[in-house]
């Protein structure tokens, strides 16, 4: 549960509850992006974010997202496990 995985924002699915759909290594899931709402700026479609337990924790650029993903991929089973848990997640 400790990992923060990068994902790319695809669309907002519930603006009021700050829920957006993201693509994480090919897995599409809904996450909450409220922690990145600040002073009228929030996450936009196409942005890359680091996701932890279903919440976007910080915005990153694409290069950082790529680098983090390749680091996670190198972890093998632990990353697979995290992705499996993400796949089982249904946030509404």
């Amino acid at each position: 549960m400790c990992l923060a995985i990068p994902g790319q924002v695809l669309e907002y699915v519930d603006e009021d509850n700050r829920l957006a759909r993201v693509d994480v290594a090919g897995v599409h899931r809904t996450i909450n992006v409220a922690l990145l709402d600040a002073d009228g700026v929030s996450v936009a479609v196409g942005d890359w974010v680091l996701i932890h337990v279903g919440f976007a924790l910080s915005k990153v650029d694409e290069a950082e997202a790529e680098a983090t993903l390749s680091l996670l991929r190198s972890m093998g089973a632990d990353f697979e496990q995290e992705l499996a848990e993400l796949r089982a997640s249904v946030i509404e």
């Binding site: 549960m1 400790c2 990992l3 923060a4 509850n17 996450i31 909450n32 409220a34 922690l35 990145l36 709402d37 600040a38 680091l50 932890h52 337990v53 279903g54 919440f55 924790l57 910080s58 990153v60 650029d61 950082e64 680098a67 983090t68 390749s70 680091l71 190198s74 972890m75 632990d78 496990q81 848990e85 993400l86 089982a88 997640s89 249904v90 946030i91 509404e92």
Partner: protein, 371 residues
């Protein structure tokens, strides 16, 4: 050397290793603590310690949230899970943490309705889907995770989800670091600061380490070259006689943290007077409970649990591992009675735990190689 073979930035890594050797004072044994379990994992995955000179030692800190949960709290969780009508939800790693009489996984096998969730929002969704049941979420983690629980509770309150509650075990990063720095059996020279916790709290709360204890801190990213660069920055500070908080992970960590996350935490949680940490004992103001405005959602108020302090098993040396006093393989049961499949202590459970990291990367025992 695995690092050189496997890491994409091997060339940069090699250069950093040379600079590290040049910056390290050959006459001084330097102990640097990496606070975060994610760093521990990268260090062993890539054999980064092999790239350091023999007088620069990395010791592992208390930054794995699963590892620091004491046995008594696991017992309380199991008691809640056995309450009639309860659906008990937790992160996958917590299922395997031993209590004094088995794990949550064992309780599930005995018939308790325990479900693994990826996010606290998954637990809330289950509560809404099953209004006739009580859903308890086992909240653990440092400030990285606490804002997510806080936002979930805010939503539960706004929507009036009365059958949802939270067993709060969130902890804060500064008090255990202060406790380690005050501990007489440990002499540390600097800290590789935690990456993800710092995205929430920022680097600023770590300033006390430099100001009050005169030790340098470098907040670090997780890639091998990030960690090597942070070690170099620490050694350079030591060489120059400086002690400052530097931010190597500036591309992700804002110096002041995530203000929105800090706000929701302050709104939902209150500090406990003290909280027990596995192996470290009670630490003042180190744990969070639900604030009074959220008392209705507090599982500890809803259920009578044993609430006992349970001593760690005699064989277990997790406390010394969490304090960086011993290396995992120095624990008598490491790799024999205690393995990731059948852990005795918590450090063997999560992949971020120091014992699991050592075990998984074949570090059963080793002498420091001279490079």
């Amino acid at each position: 050397m695995r690092f050189v073979d496997e890491f994409r930035d091997a060339e940069l890594g090699r250069r950093l290793a040379i600079e590290i050797r040049a910056a390290a004072d050959p006459d001084r044994h330097v102990k640097l603590m990496e606070v975060c379990g994610g760093h521990t994992h990268s260090i062993y995955k890539y054999g980064l310690d092999d790239l350091l000179p023999s007088n620069v030692e990395l010791v592992h800190g208390p930054g794995c949230p699963v590892c620091v949960i004491p046995m008594g709290r696991v017992d309380d969780a199991i008691a809640m899970a056995h309450e009639p009508g309860v659906i008990f939800t937790c992160f996958g790693d917590m299922m395997r943490v031993p209590g004094s009489d088995g794990t949550l996984m064992d309780a599930k096998a005995e018939g308790a309705d325990i479900r693994m969730v990826y996010s606290p929002l998954d637990a809330l969704r289950i509560a809404k889907a099953e209004p006739d049941r009580q859903v308890v979420f086992f909240a653990i983690g440092f400030e990285t995770t606490a804002p997510s629980t806080a936002l979930t509770l805010k939503r539960a309150k706004a929507e009036g989800v009365a059958n949802f509650s939270c067993f709060c075990n969130h902890v804060t990063i500064v008090p255990p670091l202060r406790a380690l720095l005050d501990s007489p059996d440990l002499r540390l020279d600097g800290f590789v600061g935690p990456g993800h916790v710092s995205t929430v709290v920022g680097a600023r709360p770590l300033e006390f380490i430099a100001a009050d204890y005169g030790k340098p801190v470098v907040v670090s990213g997780f890639e091998p070259t990030d960690i090597l660069q942070s070690v170099l920055m620490l050694l350079t500070q030591l060489r120059d006689g400086r002690c400052e908080v530097e931010n190597q992970y500036r591309r992700v960590v804002p110096y002041d943290g995530n203000l929105r996350a800090l706000e929701v935490m302050a709104e939902v949680f209150a500090l406990r007077p003290h909280f027990e940490w596995r192996g470290l004992g009670f630490i003042s103001h180190s744990g969070l409970r639900l604030g009074d405005a959220y008392a209705d959602f507090d599982a500890e108020l809803r259920y009578a649990v044993p609430g006992l302090r349970v001593a760690d098993p005699k064989a277990c040396q997790c406390g010394e591992v969490l304090k960086g006093v011993i290396k995992p393989w120095e624990c008598k049961v490491f790799g024999t009675a205690c393995t990731p499949e059948r852990p005795i202590g918590t450090c063997m459970v999560s992949s971020e735990g120091a014992c699991a990291a050592y075990y998984n990367y074949g570090r059963f025992a080793r002498e420091k190689q001279l490079v």
